[in-house]
């Protein structure tokens, strides 16, 4: 009598299950990091170039902090006097920001201070800046991973 195929089938089966278990383990939760974000992007309809950065990085989960926002037109001219509303949330969890951040100062040269930002947990956050100025109404959306 020769090779017993039942053993091979059993081992292949075991290895497949082991591989599945191993793969599941690698999908561990995202760590609570302390990132230093500097982000810049064109608004959804291409009206503005919006750059955002935390005033005092690193950004820590659960702490109230301030962001600096710079708004320019596509040809690089700073946009002052814009009305900016800040919103966002965690799309995966269906909830918004835990606070209502507001622009509290216009610093000139297209720069604005946004106070009252908080991220209450680690994970993927959406951070939205709706800009309203004579050039038009547009929104820049940033995706942050904490």
């Amino acid at each position: 009598m020769g090779f017993n195929w039942r053993y091979l089938v059993a081992i292949v089966g075991l290895l497949a299950v082991a591989l599945m278990a191993f793969t599941r383990m690698q999908t561990a939760p995202s760590p609570v990091a302390a990132p230093s974000f500097v982000l810049s992007r064109t608004s959804e309809n291409g009206t503005y170039l919006v750059a955002v950065e935390p005033e005092a990085p690193p950004v820590k989960v659960g702490e109230l902090h301030t962001w600096m926002v710079t708004v320019k037109t596509q040809d690089g001219n700073p946009v002052d006097g814009a009305s900016i509303t800040v919103s966002g949330g965690m799309p995966a969890h269906g909830h918004g920001l835990p606070t209502s951040p507001e622009v509290t100062a216009q610093l000139g040269d297209g720069r604005y201070r946004v106070e009252g930002v908080k991220f209450s947990m680690g994970g993927a956050w959406e951070f939205r800046f709706a800009v309203s100025a004579p050039a038009g109404d547009d929104e820049a959306v940033f995706n942050l991973k904490l």
Binding site: F3, M25, A28, G62, P101, M121
Partner: protein, 404 residues
């Protein structure tokens, strides 16, 4: 036969590998799991931040006076209720009841006090924005201490004048003030309050606020103690194998992995205190016999209009330091029946659970989150989860490592 002999010895090795991966013998924690463990450890807790709204917050004499007030039953309408009636010192400053009982039964579960000085908003619904403003609420609640601010000013003058004045300066002249008066409370109390001059009202409010500030100074000293989980986390961070009273059993370790992984508990129960200090609708059913309770939605106008809030005349804070109040979410559907995420430290020692003690055991709490029932009002943030009996038991085992 030759082939089988070669393969047979591999079987035990494959079985061992498999059992290891499936959790019978736990695999080492991943880097992400280690980071999550470190973030939950008490060692990650930053120093207690200052409370700019209470200039006496870190004054030892104020804390000592606050401790006296906290345990003194004279600070009540009937002389039978103190803060420690519900916040029992040997029970983690809670009372093991579904609903707190002062002069009569309240509508909320008594919260333990450790670490509450770090919460931006107090009470289950966050209707106060500091520990000292919180302390004033039960003092005038008819179901709790049942007193009124004018009576408390008289009590302080009669019993603690020297200690009070040593800390806060001269007490006002109370001789012309009514024995009982408050803008809240009974009709008679409110009428008496209305009969007082603005200066008299302000003087009484100031004594009342200082009572709260002293109690808050005392409560700031109530902190969490390290438990086996923290010793485990410390050993892990030091690169040591957690042993003896720092070791977790295989089941507890499995529960920890579920907590930070598949079961997603850590989404809200995060940081060293196992809370995000935020408000969530988790579909907890109302307690039978209680009036409608909208949670955070009803609390927002209360904290905004509270004269003892961070921006009010009795706060010592420069307005720019009142960020939590200024930038809090003031409206939106997510506020309805949203309640604060409680800390899970010591949780296994203090059933029942939820804001009105609706759920009797930890097992039943986990069952609630697995089922994720729809909220009776508003929308629950919780999504259903599949957890085996073994996984549920492991989560409970892990939660017990947060107690001593």
């Amino acid at each position: 036969m030759i082939h089988s002999r070669r393969i047979l010895p591999i079987l035990p090795a494959a079985a061992l590998l498999l059992s290891g991966l499936l959790g019978c013998k736990p695999a080492p924690l991943t880097e992400a799991e280690r980071k999550a463990v470190a973030s939950l450890s008490l060692s990650a807790l930053p120093p207690l931040p200052a409370d700019p709204s209470n200039r006496y917050a870190d004054l030892p004499a104020a804390a000592a006076f606050g401790a006296t007030l906290f345990f003194d039953q004279r600070v009540s309408r009937d002389g039978n209720v103190s803060c420690s009636t519900c916040h029992l010192v040997d029970r983690h400053f809670q009372d093991d009841r579904p609903l707190g009982v002062g002069i009569s039964t309240t509508s909320r579960r008594t919260m333990p006090l450790a670490g509450t000085a770090r919460s931006p908003f107090l009470f289950w619904d966050g209707r106060r924005d500091s520990l000292w403003a919180q302390a004033l609420g039960p003092l005038e609640d008819a179901r709790e201490h049942g007193g009124n601010r004018a009576a408390y000013a008289h009590i302080v003058k009669a019993n603690f004048a020297a200690r009070y004045e040593h800390i806060f300066g001269p007490l006002p002249d109370l001789s012309a003030m009514p024995a009982n008066a408050s803008p809240l409370g009974s009709e008679a109390d409110r009428a008496a309050w209305a009969s007082m001059s603005e200066a008299q009202q302000d003087a009484v409010n100031r004594v009342f606020a200082n009572i709260g500030k002293a109690i808050a100074a005392f409560e700031r000293s109530i902190v969490h103690e390290k438990t086996r989980f923290d010793r485990f986390a410390d050993a892990l961070a030091a690169g040591q194998e957690p042993a003896d009273d720092a070791a977790l059993s295989d089941e507890e370790l499995y529960g920890l992995r579920l907590f930070v992984g598949k079961a997603n508990c850590v989404e809200c129960h995060n940081g060293s205190r196992f809370t995000d200090d935020h408000f969530h609708n988790t579909g907890v059913p109302p307690a039978a016999g209680l009036p409608e309770d909208l949670g955070r939605e009803a609390a927002v106008p209360q904290v905004l209009s509270d004269p003892f809030n961070c921006l009010g005349p009795y706060s010592d804070a420069p307005p720019e330091t009142c960020g939590e109040l200024r930038f809090m979410v003031k409206s939106g559907p997510e506020l309805r029946r949203a309640y604060k995420t409680p800390s899970l430290r010591g949780v296994a020692d203090r059933p029942p659970y939820m804001h009105a003690g609706q759920i009797p055991t930890l097992e039943a709490v986990i069952d609630h989150y697995v089922r994720a029932p729809a909220s009776p009002d508003g929308k629950s943030e919780v999504v259903p989860l599949k957890l085996s009996d073994r996984e549920r038991a492991a989560l409970v085992a892990f939660l017990k490592t947060l107690s001593n």
